[in-house]
């Protein structure tokens, strides 16, 4: 246990050391061109931070929800024989609730990208 902790300590220390020493010892000669974001050598064409459509957010959100669902299905599949009928009923109830959520998202127009 303590060895494991030491390993973490040493690696953490070395990592921190490298970052800090670089900061202290490195030469600090800078000019505007050097501070520019790297874009294959050509001058940057636009701002670094772009507005992106909110649909991404919706899709990410739905993906998260229906992805997490699977996480709950795995342990159920592992103990499927032991939990028996009760497990089946409970899992179907769970899937049913998710299905309702899916229908809600669908009807609400979360998948309609072009309006």
């Amino acid at each position: 246990m303590i060895e494991l902790f030491l390993v973490f300590l040493v690696f953490g220390f070395v990592g921190a050391l490298m970052v800090v020493v670089n900061k202290i010892l490195g030469p600090r000669k800078t000019n505007p061109t050097k501070e520019m974001p790297y874009e294959c050598g050509s001058p940057p064409l636009q701002e670094g931070i772009n507005p992106f459509p909110i649909k991404y957010y919706l899709v990410a959100f739905l993906f998260l929800l229906f992805d997490i669902e699977v996480v709950f299905l795995f342990p159920w599949a592992l103990v499927f024989k032991e939990v028996g009928m009760t497990g089946v009923i409970l899992m179907f109830a769970y899937i049913f609730i998710l299905l309702m959520g899916f229908i809600y998202a669908w009807k609400k127009g979360a998948f309609q990208w072009e309006k």
Binding site: I97, M100, I103, Y104, K107, K108
Partner: protein
């Protein structure tokens, strides 16, 4: 008794919430009132199941869901709260341009989270319920989407709420580390065998209390309350001021009530809560003096009330705590209903100046609002007086005289700001025109019911005391 019956109230709520959601998206109607009626029907069925299982001790999931009378009592109180809140929201939503049907589904889901919390004595399950409640609450706080204040409220509530949840979970982890279990009973049993509590146990308990302190808004953890209460839609403010508080205190009773009896050095936790209680009563009432926005003032008043409830926790008198909650439910929802009544299309009257002359212009609203304010201040013959009386007399019996003196002085201060509204309503000339939308039968029903509740509890509290006695004697410390 292990039985599926224990699941029925929860199942009803969830089916109701899903049905409301599906109906909301499949029937395109401008008027969402029918969803309110559907959710009220489901709430009543849920209430019926709760009343039916009174005294039967149903349990399910290896006792992780245990419907003792204590849980049922709080469940019924919360169901009544939700019904009243649904009723006062019906007109409000269309007037204030927040016409979303999800509102009722979210209320039902929040209620289901609260029912999980009150009917479990396993800290992880309680945390699960808390998260169900919190997620719905954050959304409800931000439902006025074009209103900046409402969005601010939602974001603040979300950030501080998740911060508090982190505290709570860390506390749970430490308690689990000490006792190898998340069940309250096992943790307490473990404390019994130790001669003194380890530092880890203290830290764990402290963090759990901090986590719930955020939810019930006691003083060092009250910062979010005024902003959230002011920004959220007014019916939701009424809901926040009762629901999360009630469950927070119910869990604290389950956790601390056996703890006082077993641990040798519970004095540290006791004095900690003593200080929290005194600070809550003093600061809540003092800051309320300077508020001119009614919702903000009621927010600080609800902080102060959390302080009085803390006195009940400290004096180990669960029945006075429960009685206080029943009274608090009626008087606070009544007060908020009166505030909601003063509104018209896209306009709410929330400043103190708007209330000048209301007492003569709208005599019924003015008079009922005055009764609720008298009750909040603790005047006889209203329920508020008896509630404070029971809490403080129980505290005196337990020898907490100095705390009671602080409490009585603090509630004396509170009389000023409650009565100031009444002074404005009846003794000031109106400075500007206030016209309100009076076609709101559901709201007037709520005003009447709350008035009845406050007076009934103040004059003939016998029946409810009998029920509370049954509930207290059945608390199961599993």
């Amino acid at each position: 008794m292990n039985s599926l019956n224990a699941m029925f109230p929860l199942l009803t709520l969830i089916v109701g919430a899903l049905l409301v959601l599906i109906l909301e998206v499949s029937i395109k109607r401008e008027n969402k009132t029918y969803l309110a009626f559907i959710s009220i029907i489901f709430l009543m069925i849920c209430g019926f199941f709760c009343v039916q299982s009174w005294g039967k001790d149903f349990s399910y999931f290896n006792n992780h869901l245990y419907l003792d009378n204590f849980a049922l009592f709080f469940s019924i109180v919360l169901i009544i709260t939700t019904i009243l809140v649904t009723l006062i929201s019906m007109k409000y939503l269309s007037l204030q341009n927040t016409n979303v049907g999800e509102y009722y589904a979210l209320l039902l889901l929040a209620l289901s989270g609260m029912l999980i919390m009150v009917s479990s004595s396993d800290l992880i399950v309680i945390f699960l319920g808390l998260e169900v409640l919190s997620m719905s609450s954050y959304t409800l706080a931000g439902l006025k989407r074009d209103d900046q204040k409402s969005s601010e409220a939602a974001l603040k509530y979300f950030l501080l709420g998740s911060f508090a949840s982190a505290f709570l979970v860390y506390g749970l982890a430490l308690l689990y580390g000490v006792s190898n279990s998340t069940s309250i009973a096992v943790i307490i049993d473990h404390f019994k065998t130790e001669s003194s509590l380890s530092f880890m146990a203290f830290a764990g308990l402290g963090l759990v209390i901090v986590g719930f302190g955020f939810k019930i808004a006691v003083v060092p953890f009250h910062m979010w309350t005024p902003d959230v209460y002011q920004g959220a839609p007014t019916p939701i403010t009424a809901f926040f001021s009762i629901g999360p508080k009630a469950v927070g205190f119910a869990v604290l009773v389950r956790l601390l009530y056996p703890f006082w009896h077993v641990a040798y050095d519970s004095e540290v936790i006791f004095s900690l809560l003593w200080i929290i209680s005194a600070l809550t009563m003093i600061i809540g009432n003092l800051i309320a003096l300077r508020q001119t926005n009614i919702k903000r003032m009621l927010a600080y008043s609800s902080i102060a009330h959390a302080g009085y409830l803390m006195v009940a926790i400290l004096s180990q008198d669960t029945s006075s705590l429960m009685f206080y909650f029943v009274v608090y439910l009626f008087m606070n929802i009544g007060a908020f209903a009166a505030v909601i009544a003063l509104g018209k299309k896209d306009k709410e009257y929330l400043e103190l100046d708007d209330y000048a002359g209301i007492g003569f212009k709208y005599p019924w609203i003015g008079a009922t609002f005055a009764v609720f304010l008298f009750s909040l201040a603790g005047f006889p013959p209203t329920g508020g007086f008896l509630a404070k009386f029971y809490v403080f007399s129980a505290a005196v019996r337990e020898g907490l005289v100095s705390l009671v003196i602080i409490g009585v002085l603090a509630s004396l201060v509170s009389v000023y700001y409650y009565l100031r509204i009444i002074v404005y309503m009846y003794m000031r000339e109106p400075t500007h025109e206030v016209d309100i939308n009076l076609e709101n039968p559901a709201l007037f029903l709520v005003l009447f019911l709350c008035l009845y509740g406050v007076l009934q509890l103040g004059i003939f509290p016998g029946n409810i005391l009998l029920i509370i006695k049954q509930a207290v004697s059945s608390i199961a410390f599993l």
